[in-house]
């Protein structure tokens, strides 16, 4: 393992981890992570300085692991951390200090294009400014302002839909009861004392009913484009409604949107969600997407006993047998599977698309979802489930 390049660059100053300039560097590193989209609370930065102090700074590995342990709190952020770590400590620019040219820089022709996101050989840029995975995915971010007025009107009606309440959970989980449910010893004892030590009545309690977990899988492929934005609004209403709702976008990849949509401000939530979905209006491979959901979230527990809602037109470019297999697997774990197809409302619709046909045997409810009213109905179906 190499010595960190910064250390060799500034001998004397940084050898002592408690030195002010070292702390400055550590803070700058945390800031680069933040700029790259990782949430790094101030408290973690303080812990980071202490952690580096504890493991030492002379070797790469302890520095790498200490930072990862303290600054990163989500597995999804690890690739970002790796990238920033490499660019910051090895060959990245350090603010005012120009980076020493690395051997690759000398051998490669530098790209002179000012706003070139990728250098000529397809390598990610070396600066700290973050450029997302655009090399993997078709990156088309949508401006929500492009929504038609009619659409927005429809959506705002939807936002006030009273049935959203159906998805909310009760605040108090357990209440005391006199007659049935689990024995409530504490309440019984209190009552007993009141009657001077005589057990007059055994108190019980029972859990109040809680709504089931709801998982929403929304297709964001090109063919769904006319509906996807409205459906995203719907996802936000459902997620922000305090119920136990999880939301995902499915396109060429699976993106979890629950956090992004949890914001109470609808516009902020949608902006965050849209930024997060990298394969917006790309292709669909529903089988793989649902498979990825099953592997990473569904089978470990999220789908168990849950109501799983798939919002898709079923126009799938992937392998229908794969989709059928994954749907069967999902159906076995879930309490109920609901497929919402916006095309279903059109006159004479038959589920002829290969994907739709493959999935239907594993769907409990097949409903339309082209309008706010139909989504209202959907909420009713979900609440009844």
């Amino acid at each position: 393992m190499g010595t960190l390049s910064v250390w060799s660059k500034r001998p004397g100053d940084v050898a002592d981890p408690r030195h002010a300039s070292t702390i400055g560097l550590l803070v700058a590193f945390a800031r680069s992570l933040r700029r790259a989209g990782v949430a790094v609370p101030v408290d973690s930065v303080v812990q980071y300085v202490r952690a580096i102090e504890a493991v030492g700074i002379d070797r790469r590995d302890p520095v790498y692991w200490a930072g990862r342990t303290v600054l990163i709190h989500r597995h999804e952020d690890v690739p970002t951390y790796d990238r920033i770590f490499d660019s910051f400590w090895f060959g990245g620019s350090l603010g005012s200090d120009p980076p020493p040219p690395s051997p690759e820089d000398l051998s490669d022709e530098e790209s002179h294009d000012e706003d070139d996101a990728m250098s000529s050989d397809g390598e990610p840029p070396r600066s700290l400014a973050w450029v997302s995975y655009s090399d993997i995915d078709q990156l088309r971010r949508k401006d929500f302002a492009a929504c038609t007025p009619e659409e927005l009107q429809e959506i705002s009606r939807l936002l006030h839909a009273t049935s959203v309440r159906a998805l909310q959970r009760s605040r108090r989980m357990i209440r005391s009861r006199r007659d049935h449910g689990r024995h409530d010893t504490r309440a019984t004892m209190r009552r007993t004392l009141r009657s001077g030590g005589e057990v007059v009545r055994l108190m019980h309690r029972e859990p109040t009913s809680r709504p089931r977990r709801v998982v929403l899988l929304c297709d964001v492929s090109g063919s769904m484009e006319p509906y996807a934005r409205a459906l995203l609004r719907f996802l936000h209403v459902a997620v922000a409604g305090q119920g136990r709702v999880e939301a995902f976008a499915v396109g060429t990849r699976l993106t979890r949107l629950t956090r992004q949509l949890a914001s109470r401000d609808p516009d902020a939530a949608l902006r965050l969600a849209i930024e997060r979905v990298l394969d917006w209006s790309g292709g669909t491979r529903l089988g793989e997407g649902i498979g990825a959901f099953n592997d990473r979230f569904g089978m470990p527990g999220m789908a168990r006993g849950a109501i799983v809602v798939i919002l898709s037109d079923g126009l799938d470019r992937g392998d229908p047998t794969l989709l059928a297999g994954e749907m069967a697997r999902l159906h076995r774990a879930a309490h109920q599977t609901i497929w919402v197809n916006p095309l279903k409302a059109s006159a004479g619709y038959e589920p002829l698309a290969r994907g739709m046909r493959a999935a239907l045997p594993h769907v409990d409810q097949f409903v339309e979802g082209h309008s706010a009213a139909s989504l209202d109905d959907l909420l009713g179906v979900m609440a009844a489930g």
Binding site: A39, P41, D43, S44, Q47, R50, A51, E53, A54, V55, G56, D61, P62, W65, A66, R68, T69, V70, I72, H73, R74, H75, V78, M173, I174, H183, T185, R186, T188, M189, T192, L193, G196, G197, V199, P207, E246, R256, T258, R259, N294, D295, R296, F297, M299, P300, G301, M302, G325, R329
Partner: protein, 319 residues
């Protein structure tokens, strides 16, 4: 180098480690093979007194970390298994109802006729004293009832299964390592327990809780480390078998199955094969024992209908 708040001297044979490498070696001598990342995370959890949050595939040895830590430090292992609906009664404390009632009857027998409200208050105070307190895991970890040399090791297993109300409560407990029992007052840990939380990611645990913790993602081990783990945990399987089993499992892991086998399954398989008297893999035995590592019918079909001969050959070559 380490600031001087890292534990009192003279806690038995256990001394707070000074480097991550020391952690790795100590765990190794107590039957757990940690990689550099995990060793650093544990080291920092000890030095910074922070809970350690472990995420990763099931069967990756997350829970075993706490067992090994307990063996090493000599602190009592306190385990809290989370599940949906877990509440304070099961996690922190409960009153021993039956004994309280008995006590009440006894008090009644001794009481003089005409004993006034004063007696009632005395009885009530007695009823809600530590004598009748049932300590559940969190309270046991914060206020151990027995004197031990080292602080307890508290493992909060599968925290993602608990409800978020409980998570908020945990956050409160882990923030200052104290628990309040309304009838008795506040218990505060003299020495904070070493806390390990695990999650299988069935849902995202709240950020506030994660921020309170150090975070480590537990990966599947590389080939040599996994062989070493199998040798350690299934000593009845000889070197050759251990290597072949590990090679086969690692190949199977790359097949994109519904549930890829974890390290626990590798150990199970090695034990199963050793029990059958095998010293190396062959196709027939592999076919018969695939259930040790694969727990879905579809997965078993996929592997056994696939290139089983190739799998065995490859494993024997690498072993």
């Amino acid at each position: 180098m380490v600031s001087e708040d890292s534990g009192k001297p003279g806690r038995g044979s256990f001394a707070v480690p000074e480097t991550p490498d020391e952690v790795r070696r100590a765990l190794e001598s107590h039957g757990y093979l940690a990689d550099d990342g995990l060793a650093t995370a544990i080291f920092l959890a000890m030095v910074l007194h922070r809970p350690l949050f472990l995420e990763g595939e099931p069967g990756g040895g997350k829970t075993e970390v706490a067992n090994a830590l307990s063996r090493w430090t000599g602190g009592e292992l306190v385990r809290l298994q989370c599940y949906e609906g877990i509440d304070v009664n099961q996690a922190v404390y409960e009153w021993d109802f039956a004994r309280q009632l008995l006590h009440l009857r006894a008090a009644e027998l001794r009481s003089t006729p005409g004993g006034g409200p004063h007696d009632v208050r005395i009885v009530e105070d007695e009823l809600f004293s530590e004598r009748f307190l049932v300590r559940r895991p969190l309270l046991r970890a914060i206020a151990p009832s027995t004197e031990r040399l080292a602080a307890p090791v508290l493992i909060i297993d599968e925290v993602d299964r608990a409800d978020d109300e409980f998570e908020a409560f945990l956050l409160e407990v882990l923030a200052d390592y104290s628990v309040t029992v309304p009838e008795l007052g506040t218990f505060r840990a003299e020495e904070p327990p070493l806390v390990v939380l695990t999650s299988n990611r069935t849902r995202d645990v709240h950020d506030a809780l994660k921020r309170r913790c150090l975070y480590h993602w537990v990966e599947h081990p590389d080939f040599e480390r996994e062989v070493a783990i199998v040798r350690l945990k299934a000593p009845e399987a000889d070197e050759q078998l251990a290597r072949q089993v590990t090679a086969a499992v690692q190949t199977v892991r790359g097949m994109g199955l519904y549930k890829a086998p974890g390290v626990a399954e590798t150990i199970d398989w090695a034990q199963a094969l050793a029990a059958l008297g095998s010293s190396e893999l062959d196709e027939a035995t592999v076919r018969r024992t695939l259930g040790s590592i694969l727990k879905y019918r579809e997965d078993i079909e996929r592997v056994s209908d696939g290139d089983l001969v190739g799998l065995v050959e490859e494993a024997r070559r690498r072993g």
